[in-house]
Assembly symmetry: C2
């Protein structure tokens, strides 16, 4: 009898009716002969309400109390899910993170899981009882409740699946799976049956919201087979698996985008060998990540221009750092621009196929779209363009890489 | 430096503004040089919401899950109170029942406290940190969260005050203290400065809502000095203390009433010696408490009538038990009546003063109020009357016992 972990997100447990719907997914798996461990998020809106309380008192107060308050949301859902399963005739009981226990470090608000001890859950399963575990939380060595940060419930599910040696970890959500592109923008986008860990990791880090990078990375490290699927349809979703499980690999699997980048152009920097270090050193010291970078010689031939991107949320701080260091940098002008988007074309097939970048540049050029910055990795090409062209560019690329669905 | 426990009820922590108000009470005590342990209820309405979720799934389901869900309310308030205190410059941290720990039996939903271990809280206080403890809950031997039932947060406060050897346990609420009578009905009612445990116990069990019987009984057993007072005014409240602390004892301290009783009259029972046992045995077996009882010989001289009261919530079940046993009881008729109220005059002075009952009967008779049933204890006289006369009777008794305030 195989063991699977089923995780339900906030919209899947948003009210009692939805919890009942989610419970039927558990019921089907149990009736199919699986051992099931359930992981739940807080009811949608609940975590925001609790975070709102804390922020209304004062932001940036004791993160240990933030965690104690915010972790209560999943406790409610875990109990309600256990009761709902019981009502359907399925023996179930709730487990809070500290009861399992899921042991974490002391980084409250964004704790890292040290270890999930599976013994209690195994004993529970051995009694024929479905454990329903609170996602998003654990307990620190000093006995305080910790939360895992954004995407924390997915991470709880993956960590438990790894610790329990589960056959699969199903992430139930309000979409049908992972799509070739955002279907709200590209109508011809279609659901992928399978995607590799590496691709999913790039998709997540380049803006696809369906899974968080941490969960995918953890699943990849522990070789946990992930499935992303809809609570509401019950249809098979997208499997996130090892590359060797995918027989016919597309060159490009999907196209992600992000509106969260800001571009900074430094004009008229002295063309000295150490200038990049003088620029990026202070930014790194301020914990500001720089993503894409390009350097040009200025038309005057004596100075250089440097363009790079940072997260839009870091822009103000980045400009302050540059201002503070301009006696060294001596830029003539600094031009920030938030009206940009980053498009990323992703696929493990790029490793063995040439011409992927050429297809991208040709498709964008044919629509008159100017590429401002480019960066590449082994399985990804990203470009920065004006946000005005987002929809046009996504649709053009989707067609150019033969991703449009038949219908 | 003396230690006091301060407990804040649901209305005192109903929103962030009220939590801030409650926190100033803690602040004053801290500034006065006290060590303070805070106990909090859930925000008013929150527990009802959580109970509503559980009942909407199905009433009478697994009480362990009920407890896991419902206990989350206090967890939120404890964190928010700790944060609010921190904002005011007072070091504070939240403690959940299981973290203290407050150990209980396994009677979920109405657990009994076995032991509150004070070591962690003492260590916290020694570091100059105010512990804020979730009321209403503890942990069972098997590691599940338990709740203590109605009045549970008061009980948590009293239990902790006893375990910590606190000088006093302040129960902050939305009224100014314990009144001679319900001031919403008797305008001339006044706040008592002091009341004995025994009187408070009778007041609570006879319908006064300000404290629950369990908390008062526990305070009495452990000689915990209780104070009931208002979060909002900051004025001194009512001290619940040993009799020897009260110098000038009134004969009657207060008048309580309850609308929660139902009267049952059994007409035409055979006048056999065993008839009371045949009647009350099955009721006791069904865990239905009988309160007041009176037996009369019927006018025919051969049968007997028996009148008694049960909690109104038990009436339907009581009538079913009587129906099921009527082949033995052979009552000619059973007459239920829910349109009754019980008035109780309470005072330890009764022990040494005669004529207290006479004053009551005279006062009621002078208003033409018929007494249906009477019961007495050492420090209490209760009568059952028609609910139509509730207000009239309370005011008449309040005047008759010289309780009317000067203003």
């Amino acid at each position: 009898m195989s063991l699977i972990v089923q995780k339900f997100g906030g919209t899947s447990v948003g009210d009692l009716e939805r919890i009942a719907k989610a419970a039927t997914r558990v019921e089907h798996a149990v009736r199919d002969g699986h051992s099931v461990v359930v992981v739940v998020s807080a009811m949608s809106g609940e975590t925001d309400k609790l975070v709102g309380y804390v922020r209304d008192i004062q932001p940036d107060l004791d993160p240990r109390e933030y965690d104690a308050v915010v972790a209560s949301g999943e406790q409610v859902t875990a109990g309600l899910m256990a009761l709902t399963l019981q009502k359907m005739g399925i023996a179930a009981r709730s487990w809070q993170g500290w009861q399992v226990p899921i042991l974490t470090d002391e980084s409250h608000g964004r704790a890292r899981v040290r270890e999930a001890r599976p013994e209690n859950l195994h004993a529970c399963l051995d009694e024929g009882i479905v454990p329903v575990v609170t996602g998003f939380q654990g307990i620190s060595e000093s006995g305080r409740i910790t939360t895992l940060g954004r995407g924390g419930s997915d991470l709880s599910a993956v960590v438990l699946a790894a610790a329990l040696g589960a056959e699969r970890c199903d992430i139930f959500t309000d979409v049908d799976g992972v799509f070739t592109c955002d279907p709200r923008i590209v109508a011809k986008a279609h659901k992928l049956d399978k995607i590799t860990y590496e691709e999913m990791l790039e998709m997540a880090s380049q803006g696809a919201k369906v899974l968080h990078t941490r969960s995918v990375a953890t699943a990849m490290n522990h070789r946990v087979r992930l499935q992303v699927l809809s609570t509401f349809t019950g249809a098979p979703g997208t499997l996130v698996v090892d590359e060797d499980e995918i027989v016919e690999q597309q060159v490009v699997s999907g196209i992600a985008y992000s509106r969260d980048d800001a571009k900074i152009t430094m004009i008229g920097l002295p063309d000295d060998p150490g200038i990049a270090a003088s620029l990026f050193g202070p930014l790194a010291a301020a914990e500001i990540n720089v993503d894409m970078i390009v350097q040009n010689i200025s038309p005057d031939g004596e100075t250089t221009d440097l363009t790079f991107t940072v997260a839009e949320g870091d822009l103000e701080r980045a400009l302050a750092v540059l201002e503070a260091n301009n006696d060294v940098l001596q830029a003539r002008r600094v031009e920030p621009d938030t009206r940009v988007v980053k498009l990323s074309v992703i696929g493990v097939g790029m490793r063995s196929h040439a011409g992927v970048a050429g297809t991208m540049f040709k498709a964008l050029a044919s629509k008159g779209i100017n590429i401002q910055l480019i960066s590449t990795s082994e399985i990804k090409i990203s470009v920065l363009i004006s946000e005005d062209y987002l929809e046009l560019a996504l649709r053009a690329l989707h067609t150019a890489y033969d991703l449009d669905s038949a219908e």
